[in-house]
């Protein structure tokens, strides 16, 4: 049972990413008038991450897109400590230690610590010319390096790796993508969608090597020159981007004795194992209504919707709240290929096509136990928007024949089951 915030309570938020900033906004929008402090270790005015991997080609420099207009924290009467890391959390004393030597007491604490890139434990990973992409600083380094590079090797055909590959290709670089699995984005996409995207990238000239892991990186004078695949094949490279996923920033919570399970574990009301500490966004593992189990998601939708939910809950308290249960959705933009996902597909789902991949516009409908559970749309925004409506309703009465017929108006159908 979440007690509503009293006006004298001090709320502290750790992290100034999408979730942390939305948290400030939502607390104020719901009418909380008490003190708020937000602490983030990145020195920059909070910015949006998604453009960083999509807008590497075209502009002469990276101009960050702020998460909120300048002056937001002042207007929200929020103390923002930027460039400051929280180094210790003491849940008994309800106190934080900061990297600048300061201390902060809280009544309620929100962990919005996000995730960081997963390290690749291979020889040569620390050579010059080897990059990752998570932060604005990373993007600036990568952007500069791209302007001087000729041969680009990307390790990992996930969303970010392929978005960067598409940008580098557009810049006229020779691009090779090494992917250990037999298809790209295998964790998130059905094989129909993933094979389509693979073919689309290959057609634009990207050398997509599937079933090829990375064995090591070789260099000269401290600078990378070659990526060696698990097959033994050598790929010349003057720039390597490692895009093999992220790990959640859970150390602070873990050291404080909070329950961890892949991410910081929370209940349906986003409360951790300590009743005064909550968690939102990429760092959080929550009971997901749509997968039926504990899930950690990495998306703007998840970060903002969780913060919105928690902001309202903390201000208003809850009597018969069903918990956080917003529909997950996600997008990626890879050169000319626009991927939009509504819901979450699972390995056993039955995939049914809606539309013809030959036209470059289609959706993959995923059925679980006979009912529509997720929709992946390729260059088909209409299907995606309708799917977001359909999937929050009861889809069990809808047949796959009806749903997969491109003549069926999905938007109308969504209205009929609501």
């Amino acid at each position: 049972m979440t007690q509503p915030l009293q006006p004298h309570e001090h709320v502290v938020i750790i992290g100034t990413g999408q979730a942390g900033v939305q948290m400030v906004d939502s607390l104020r929008q719901n009418g909380f008038t008490g003190p708020i402090t937000v602490v983030g270790d990145e020195p920059h005015t909070p910015y949006q991450r998604p453009p960083l991997s999509k807008e590497l080609a075209g502009s002469s420099s990276i101009v960050p897109l702020p998460l909120r207009p300048e002056g937001f924290f002042d207007q929200a009467e929020t103390q923002a400590l930027l460039g400051v890391e929280v180094t210790d959390l003491d849940p008994q004393a309800k106190e934080l230690k900061l990297s600048d030597g300061g201390r902060l007491s809280y009544n309620r604490l929100v962990l919005a610590t996000g995730a960081r890139n997963r390290d690749l434990p291979i020889e040569g990973a620390d050579l010059q010319g080897v990059h990752g992409l998570r932060t604005l600083d990373d993007a600036e380094n990568l952007h500069t390096a791209l302007s001087e590079a000729w041969r680009v090797v990307i390790v990992g055909a996930g969303f970010i790796g392929l978005e960067v590959a598409a940008c580098a290709n557009k810049l006229g670089k020779e691009v090779t993508v090494l992917e250990f699995a037999d298809r790209p984005m295998a964790r998130a996409l059905t094989s129909s969608a993933s094979h389509y995207v693979a073919a689309a990238h290959t057609e634009t000239g990207i050398n997509l090597k599937l079933g090829e892991g990375i064995a090591s990186l070789q260099g000269q004078h401290g600078k990378v020159t070659t990526a060696v695949g698990s097959s033994g094949e050598q790929y010349p490279a003057d720039l390597v981007l490692i895009g093999v996923g992220v790990v959640p920033n859970t150390e602070l919570a873990e050291n404080a004795g909070l329950k961890i399970s892949n991410g910081i574990a929370v209940d349906t009301q986003l409360c951790t194992s300590d009743p005064h500490i909550y968690a939102v966004g990429d760092c959080t593992t929550f009971p997901n209504h749509f997968t039926g189990g504990p899930t950690r998601l990495e998306s703007v939708q998840n970060a903002t919707d969780q913060a919105r939910y928690l902001g309202a809950l903390l201000v208003q308290g809850n009597d018969d709240d069903a918990g956080y249960r917003e529909l997950p959705w996600f997008w990626s933009n890879q050169g000319g290929v626009r991927i939009q996902i509504a819901g979450i597909s699972a390995p056993g789902d039955e995939a049914v096509l809606r539309g013809d991949p030959e036209t470059g516009k289609f959706s993959v409908l995923c059925f679980r136990d006979g009912a529509l559970a997720a929709v992946e749309s390729i260059n088909a925004p209409k299907d995606h928007m309708a799917a977001r409506k359909l999937l929050v309703g009861d889809t069990s009465s809808l047949s796959r024949e009806e749903l997969s017929d491109p003549e069926t108006d999905l938007r109308k159908l969504a209205k009929s089951i609501r």
């Binding site: 949006q48 998604p50 207009p69 703007v300 939009q340 925004p381 209409k382 928007m385």
Partner: protein, 108 residues
């Protein structure tokens, strides 16, 4: 110099001059103009960069893409068939040198 004037629902206004072509949404966030959220970073995915274009500029606007048409159906403030547009899909400084828009009451 290309410029954008944003009118707030309460009547105040801000005019931003552009050094290089830029979309309405991005220009607002980078210059401290309130009321435009831009949650998807300009990908026509979130409908939180809704603006109403003022009459004088309507016939100079680029056509709406299918993405934009779809997202406009989702805006939080009343949809205006003629004047409603997504701020991330209209770039000023290329074909269009100047524009005035009204920022809606709410975006979410």
């Amino acid at each position: 110099m290309p410029r954008i004037t944003y009118h707030q629902p309460q009547g105040s206004q801000q005019t931003i001059e552009l050094d290089e072509p830029a979309p309405l949404m991005q220009t607002a966030l980078r210059n401290g103009v309130p009321g435009i959220v831009g949650e998807c970073g300009g990908q026509a995915m979130c409908a939180t960069c809704h603006v109403y274009v003022r009459e004088d500029y309507l016939d100079q606007l680029p056509e709406k893409s299918e993405d934009e048409e779809e997202m406009l159906e989702e805006v939080a403030s009343p949809f205006d068939e003629r004047r409603s547009r997504l701020g991330c899909q209209i770039t000023i400084g290329e074909d269009l040198e100047e524009i005035e828009v009204d920022v809606p009451e709410s975006q979410v």
